[in-house]
Symmetry: D2
Subunit: 281 residues, 4 copies
């Protein structure tokens, strides 16, 4: 994800320094004009803003609060823009920790797979101090096709992001159950998919529906274990807000089932295998 | 629904006789050239095919097997086309009962609200004897924008239809849960909806999402108690096929909750009130 | 079940005629003094009351409304006592159909396995006209260890019975999930069972818990497909009453899963295999 | 809880020092012969073992790793016995942190309400190093009526404890659903409870069943928010073990619903209000 985002920032004329634990993942970006940094802190050198795009809470905590991390290196008044799908709890911690240091913080998660990042088609969801959002807006415009501002507190963007991923996961489970029942009824999955495409007319339905109808869960666009993480975050957010989410609970159960059957590193559309197995298929 | 379908059949040049228990619902169609029949059996007089579009199993049984009903009136070789959302069990009964009488039977449920029926935009799902389907195809083309053939046994179309409605109901419940959590998180439903529209790019999401975000459940496009009937049919079909559908079970529970709170005659998008209430909203 | 009940009625000094579709199941009772009848109607000859104990709604309908059935043979003022676990809908139909014929009707389902029937340890749940219940009380006392009167309308006893079976099924599923998690945590099922026995101190927990911990689902005390029927009846009752039962929905899903894996004729404690499979065990 | 346990240790002849954040909760124990300590570390002075009985992970972390905490004060070879219902993750951290300091660690959660602690009727569940368990056994015997050893790794006792609490919570939800349906069917909760008592013959069913049938959720034996914590821990344990627990998910949803309706500080049997509300009661 990060590579595509960086390339679009460079293309828009920004000065960009890049860092990745695996140096060879960041290095190709130097051809596009990026400076290769040797630590998160080194990225912050002279920066007005630093973006993080990482797998989970632990990775973000490490990069921010670890040795030569962002917290200790970012200039006062500079802004940390966290694009990762992290917990609302961590977003609140980042908000207060950066504030303590006179630094800004925004939660700016994005919707879109790596291809969307490359082709500047991400949906950008921002929350936090309105002035900072405005200041950073050129960056958002360089990376995505549309920016949505959802609140004045950064964690609200994280809540929004996990609820959005929950919407996609719900579509996956619904497809999974309908396909399983219909396969046992002798109705071809592709026939049903064709009808659903006529009905919903959504590229997301068409894309994921096809993966499931084809039973094709590689290459991996988004690993199932990360999908489980996101649904767990949705349930945590819901519990914080005292809002029950029974669909999220069902999806969580099914994803745990998938983990028990060795699907951690398959695309999360392979969630559909659970409903199939449960039907004896 | 029936009125729009009849009008499109007339517009395509077919001879049409119409019957409705409430005579004043059928009468306006005489202006479009329909003959007003005084019983289901009277509709069958001289007919090559008879279409039924009714609320539930009981209504279809009454019209087919009741006095002056279709079963006793339809000519041999003529075909009964059932467009209602009925149980697979009744579809199998109709298949065999009509066969006993030398009559044809097809299950041809449709997707689309009354406006879609009027504007010839229904999605037509047909199952049964291939030759009969071909013979009736001009009727399907007159009524809908696309026809899908899903199997050689009529009940397979009914299974497909209830699974399709289940897909819509799943979207409703997913929206309901996400909106409830986000409202409690201080994120405006319309902001989230805007993002989901950018993400899914589906008119179905846009339409239902707006009803829920607006909290506007009237006028009633599809009554909640009929939605409950359809989800019950999906669960019955799934049980027949030995395929568990946990999402359908959750939706069933939520719809029963809605019934207990007096929502039977509201639009089924009001399912969303359940998740809101459960979150204390 | 029926044999044990008949034997206890005979032992209490009642005149008993018996009928079973499989004559050899009823015949042994002649040694205890029963008259062998050759049809349900023949059982009714001279009877003040007739008891039915059958597998499901269809079997009861056949025996009551079929040729040489109870409805056409039972004397006016005599009482039909239905001990089967049937739907509330059928109970209401039996109530009104018998009333039309001047016959009495009571729903009197029982709790207990065949051994309990033999040893006069059934729990008898009765509902209906209070006077009739009083008149039949000697029969209930002859068959069970305790009688509970739950309402003036027969179907209330059926609602009570399916809710009671739901309580047992809930215990099975709870055990299933706890055992699955703990087995994966390396905790022995029998260790956990020992703690649960100390905690709940219930013979029902001890008995079923042991079946599951042992993984021993034969001989079959109560077939899983009948358990599915009962949970379906509980969900139907709940829907009639507009009361959501999410636990019943989960159990239904798990039992359908079990059906898809060929467990229809195993003891319903084998429900526990589903949670184990879902955990990859 | 802690007071009753301490009193029984004193009664068995052990030397006991006590500490509580609220000094007035610990002080009465001095009459029974306890030494009043002024910090967790002070409790450890000269101790062979130290027991902790606290509300949650955070409280245990504070008492162990905080200033004047157990970790820095406990003698080498002395043993920390954690009786709190904590996460398996924290149990593993305590195991390794104490090991690093040459201290022993056992997870020894208990089943039983405060009255059971006072009357020496706790069920004691122990896991960890077998030799340490043997050494501490006199303490367990002084506090409870039975001790169960479930594994060689401390966290296994925590997994067992949260699964045990899950079993109780499942019984609560099952009762809740059955009572709600039957109330709407016109069957009195106390009638149903009487039958369930005859069926399960369990004091736990009788006790909780009565609280729910009476609708009496005060005084508070165990606060609902702590029940939510325990079910959350069960789901975390299940996820770690890759074992889906759909019942636990339903209970979690219902408890979150209860939180949204202001029931945090009521007895967790008030979970039953959720099913009642959902049925429109």
């Amino acid at each position: 994800m990060g590579a595509g985002m960086a390339r679009n920032l460079l293309a828009a004329g920004h000065d960009v320094a890049v860092y990745n634990r695996s140096r060879d993942k960041a290095e190709p970006l130097t051809k596009d004009g990026a400076r290769l940094a040797d630590s998160p802190g080194d990225v912050c050198r002279g920066a007005e803003a630093v973006l993080t795009m990482l797998a989970d809470d632990a990775a973000v905590e490490q990069v921010v609060f670890g040795e030569r991390g962002i917290a200790s290196s970012l200039a006062q008044s500079a802004i940390h823009i966290s694009c990762s799908t992290i917990s609302t709890a961590l977003a609140r911690k980042l908000t207060s920790e950066h504030a303590t240091r006179g630094q800004g913080y925004l939660s700016v998660p994005v919707f879109g797979r790596p291809e969307a990042a490359e082709s500047k088609k991400l949906l950008v969801v921002a929350a936090g101090n309105a002035e900072w959002i405005e200041r950073c807006n050129p960056l958002f415009e360089a990376m995505g096709r549309q920016t949505f501002i959802v609140g004045a507190e950064p964690w609200q963007a994280n809540a929004t992001k996990v609820c959005g991923n929950f919407m996609i996961a719900s579509m996956l489970e619904a497809f999974a159950e309908a396909f399983a029942t219909l396969r046992k009824a002798g109705v071809a999955p592709h026939s049903f998919l064709e009808i659903m495409n006529a009905l919903f007319a959504s590229p997301v339905y068409a894309g994921y529906g096809r993966l499931i109808a084809d039973g094709k869960f590689e290459p991996v666009g988004f690993a199932l274990r990360l999908g489980l993480k996101d649904v767990r975050l949705a349930l945590q957010t819901a519990e914080e807000c005292s809002a029950p989410m029974p669909f999220a609970s069902v999806i969580h159960d099914q994803l745990v089932n998938a983990m028990a059957h060795g699907q951690a590193e398959q695309d999360w559309a392979s969630l559909a295998k659970v409903a199939a197995r449960n039907a004896g298929l």
